[in-house]
Every structure is written in C-alpha cells, then in structure tokens.
Point group: C2
Chain length 331, copies 2
C-alpha cells in the first residue's frame, strides 16, 4: 500500500493535531520550522519539536529519510520532516546548509515573498533571478540533499533554480495559476521548468490558492489536479496542503511581515479580511485527506495514480533527494 504524505503544514501543533494526523492516516508530514527565523531561532524551534517527539513518541517521530515513512506506517505513527520557507536560517553562512541538513532540514525555500540573499520572492516588482550566493547555495544544497523549494518565489528565479539545480527541485505547496490566478499559484511555463527537471509540486488547500477560495468544491479542486496531470503527468504531483490549523491571526501577520517592515502587509488577504481564511468544508484538517482521495477517484484517476498523488510520488521524491549526492565511502 502506498503512503499518505502531506508536503506542507504549519499548524499550532498540539496532541490533538498529532492524533488527527493518525486519524487522517498520514504517514509523513513536512512541517515548516522557520519563516523569518535566524539560525539560532530555528534551532529553538527544533528544540520545541524535540520536546514534542519526547512527549508523544507513540504518535510522531522525526523523519529524516524516505525509509522513515515505512517505519511510521509499520509503527502506526507519523514521521515529521522539517522544512524552512525562507533561507533566513542559513543567514549569510553557506556552512549552515550542511549543519541544518544534519539537524533534519529537508526542504528550504530560496525566498519567501520578498527578495532574499538567494532569489526573488513572488511579491517583488522585479525578479533579477538567482543571485551569486544563490548559485553557491543551490550547489551546496544539491551536495548534501537539502531540497530547493520555490513555492513563494518569483517566476524567473524559479525557472533559473530548476535549471541551475543539478537535482530536482520542488514547489511544495501551490496550485495552477491558470485555474486560480493568485500570485502564489504557478504559471505553466514555471511548472514546466520544474517537472522537466524531475521536480514535483504539492497541491495547496489554502483558500487563497483555491478557485472560489473557502467555497471551492472538492470536485473543482480535483478537476484542477486532472488538468495538471494531463498537462505535465500525474507522477509530478502530490499534496502540500499548507494547513495552518489552530493558528491565531498573529501568526499570519508574522508570516507576512516578519521583522522586515514596520507597516502591515496583507499578502493574499486584505484590510477587511486580514486573518486566516476559513478552510473549505471538505478539508477542515488532517482528518479529511480521505475526502481528497475519494474526489480523485471520482474524477477518474486510476488506483495507481491516486496512490501516487496521495503520497507515492512524494515517497519516490524523498527517496532520491534527501540523501547526499555522492555518498561517502562510509555510507
């Protein structure tokens, strides 16, 4: 049986949510451990996760390798894989790429909405592409097995990253721009550059990325997936729900503004609706992954396609991309 994997969540973690992961049959979840955090702050977040791993060993453990997905399944738990939505945790120090990979970081976005030291974010007016440091860091990420994630990056930077990277890159959470023209959703030419180099995209359930937002139907969501599969091949896709369960609205403000501005920025929200939008009724939380699976079946995907989309494709991607490029003699 194929695993069930969600390739992006940033919830207000609690025992309740870890239990819901089990109810939803999730074998692995990629969780965000940094938005704007420095290295030391990211380590503090890892320490918090370590306490949860110690507190709830029957529900969760830290995932590091694809084989941990099988361990999770075999022991009825969920493997938690770390990712960063911004390169802020490496600061200006390329040596931190390997250190953070050692601590379990498996995805890192090269930019989050804004220009970073490495690449341009999707909200900038200009996108000069991958920077000098960006090229060096992509090479180092390739070497150690830290996956380049371009979910919040601008188009040119994303296409260049896909081409510069010697290993496949990911867009862990976004949808088709042609379906819902949000700034965060991906145009076909961007997606093509990613999949042509072996990359993958996870479909987002964040209402601002959905056609009709909170009112989007599961049928329409699955029809969008069918379109993507037709255009690019179903094997390049999975789920990256972007679930931000139980988070107070102060968190969406932290995500959007961090410490980079004294003025408020509403991102995909607005002054009249600044907070987290309500989830669609058919995807409230981790317990509802079955609704997506049924939707995919109803849309006409084959059993093996459904298995791939629900986690098999991410499993394959984890397998080849989390390990060092050239295993050293002792591995």
């Amino acid at each position: 049986m194929s695993p069930r994997i969600d390739c992006l969540q940033y919830a207000n973690w609690s025992e309740k949510i870890f239990r819901q992961m089990r109810e939803g049959g999730l074998d692995a979840v990629h969780v965000t451990i940094a938005y704007h955090e420095t290295f030391r702050e990211t380590v503090l977040n890892i320490e918090r996760w370590n306490r949860w791993f110690e507190q709830y060993p029957d529900l969760i453990f830290q995932g590091e390798w694809a084989s941990d997905i099988d361990k999770a399944r075999d022991s009825g738990r969920t493997a938690i894989f770390f990712g960063a939505q911004n390169p802020s945790p490496i600061e200006d120090d390329i040596g931190l790429v390997e250190v953070l990979h050692k601590l379990g970081l498996r995805f890192m976005q090269l930019s989050y909405n804004n220009q970073s030291l490495l690449a341009t974010g999707c909200y900038e007016a200009e996108d000069p592409g991958i920077t000098r440091m960006g090229r060096q860091v992509i090479k180092e990420m390739n070497r150690v097995g830290l996956v380049v994630d371009m979910s919040h990056s601008a188009d040119r930077s994303t296409i260049e990253a896909a081409e510069i990277s010697e290993r496949p890159i990911a867009i862990t959470h976004a949808n088709l721009h042609s379906w819902q023209p949000a700034l965060r959703n991906k145009r076909d030419d961007v997606l093509r550059a990613v999949v042509e180099n072996g990359g993958m995209m996870g479909f987002s359930l964040y209402p601002h990325h959905l056609r009709g937002k909170s009112d989007c139907t599961v049928d329409d969501f699955c029809a969008m997936i069918a379109t993507a599969a037709e255009r690019f091949g179903a094997e390049h896709f999975g789920i990256g729900s972007d679930l931000c369960q139980d988070q107070p609205d102060s968190i969406v403000e932290w995500m959007r503004v961090g410490r980079w501005s004294k003025e408020i920025d509403y991102g995909e929200g607005s002054a009249s609706a600044p907070g987290f939008p309500p989830q669609p009724a058919w995807f409230r939380d981790n317990r509802d992954f079955g609704n997506i699976e049924s939707g995919l079946r109803k849309t006409g995907f084959s059993d093996s396609e459904v298995a791939g989309l629900m986690g098999g494709n991410w499993r394959r991607f984890f397998e080849t991309n989390f390990i060092p490029a050239k295993p050293t003699p002792d591995m």
Copy 2:
C-alpha cells in the same frame, strides 16, 4: 584485532596531521571542538570540520557511533568524534544538549578549570558540587547519549557527577595524582567514584601531567599505568593524549583565559614558561602510538590488556554510551 583510539586531541589540524593519524594507526580520535565557544561559535567549528571531511574523505570522516570505528578500520581512515571541554556550547539552554548530540557531540566537560553553570573547575578555591542546572543537564546528557567528561573539574563535583549520572562518566585525559601531583591529575578517591560506576579514564601525554614533565620516560609512564591497572582494573583505562600538535602559544592562552579574564592566567604553565611545553621525545605526535604499545608490553601487560588500553576499552565504552538511553520505537 582491537582498534587504536586516542580519546583527546586538540591539534592545529592539517592534512599533515590527518596523514600522521593514519601512520600512527589511529582508528578513532576524540577531538575538542569547543573550549569557551558559544553555541554559534561551536557550530562554526563544526562547519570547519565539515570542510575538512569534504576535503580529506580518504583520511578522515565524522564518527558518530562505535560502529564507525570499524568502518574507519575497514576503509583505512580515522573516525573523528567531537567533544567539548566546557559546557559553554549549550549556554543556558538544556535543549541544546540534544541538538549538539545530533550534530555529533559525544563528550562534554561539565566545567573547564573555572566554575560553570553546571559544576566546579579544578582551579577554583571552593567546590560546592553539581549545581541545580548541572543535575538537569546530566539527566538530559544521559537520555540522549552525550558522555559527561570531568577531566578539568574539581574533586567533589567529579565524585557527585559520577554518582548522579545514571550512565558511566569519563575523564578523557588525566593521570594519577599520586604519580604526578598536578591539579589536573586525579586522586584515587575521585577515580574510584568514576570506575565504580563503570566509568573510564584516558591517560594524558601532556607534559604538565607527566612526572618529570617533558623528560618523563615511556617506562615511567607505563609504570604509572600499571599502578592504575592494579588499583582499579586495566579495563577502566585508555589513552587520551591531550596532544595539541602545531598549536601556536596563543591557543594555550585561549584555553586558559578565554574571555573570562582581562588578566593572564598561566594555568599549569608559568610567567617564565607560558607556552606549550615540548612533548616527550617518545611521543611527539600521532605517529608515536606504537611506542606506548611497546612500553605497555615491556611493562608486563598481557596482549588483551594492551589491546584494551590502546583502544578496546574505549571502543566498548563508546558502544554503550553514545546511543540514547531508551531507543525509541523507530530505532
């Protein structure tokens, strides 16, 4: 064949020294990565080691588990295990114990000459024993598999650490105080507390710890080992040479004074001889481990005792003390 292990070095690392480790037949070396460094500074030192591992993959690699000693032997390399001579890398944050263990730290001294947040150093006038935080940190070190090292700690603190710790502790580098009454060498009652709880001591080749200092003979050194073996059992001992090869004298000043004093402190040296003392002729560097082995044989140790003292005993200690206390279900 038993491995050859040195359980403490702090050299001015270079390709030359890594090659000498191979010439000396060393399968594993415990290297110091922090004296007074903060967490971030310790991570910078780890980054430097990562570059050496990348540069010299045919000579060295990072050791994490006892099995890496065998890997080293099988591939003709030296496994480098990390240790800290001070708890400064964990600052005031107990969560950093697990983070540093994950990054490969395997030994941590609870104090270095001075009072620390955890314990008292051997140069303090008063030794109030293990502190409140010290008790918590020992428990956490026991949980994750980070070995308590009391080489530079005061007597009462050392005895208490041996008793409080639920796993054996180590004195990675020191000699018998009864043989050479240096402040850093260990009295019998201190050593007894350590070995009675399954702990170990590594014999030091640092001239200030030797009878006759730089003029100490290999015969006298091995006679001291025979005395220790008679009193406490040969299985509790190994080598921890404290080799500081090719270090400029500015480094011994950093070791002694760090940032804690504006005045110079000569430690085991003196105003007239403030620098590193010359090594004895029979132990210049890593190439001379064979001289110790011959000396031990000449002193009358059996083959199996010699094998244990040269590395077999540390191998056994690494095997049981670097892994978490209670392996989680996925291990």
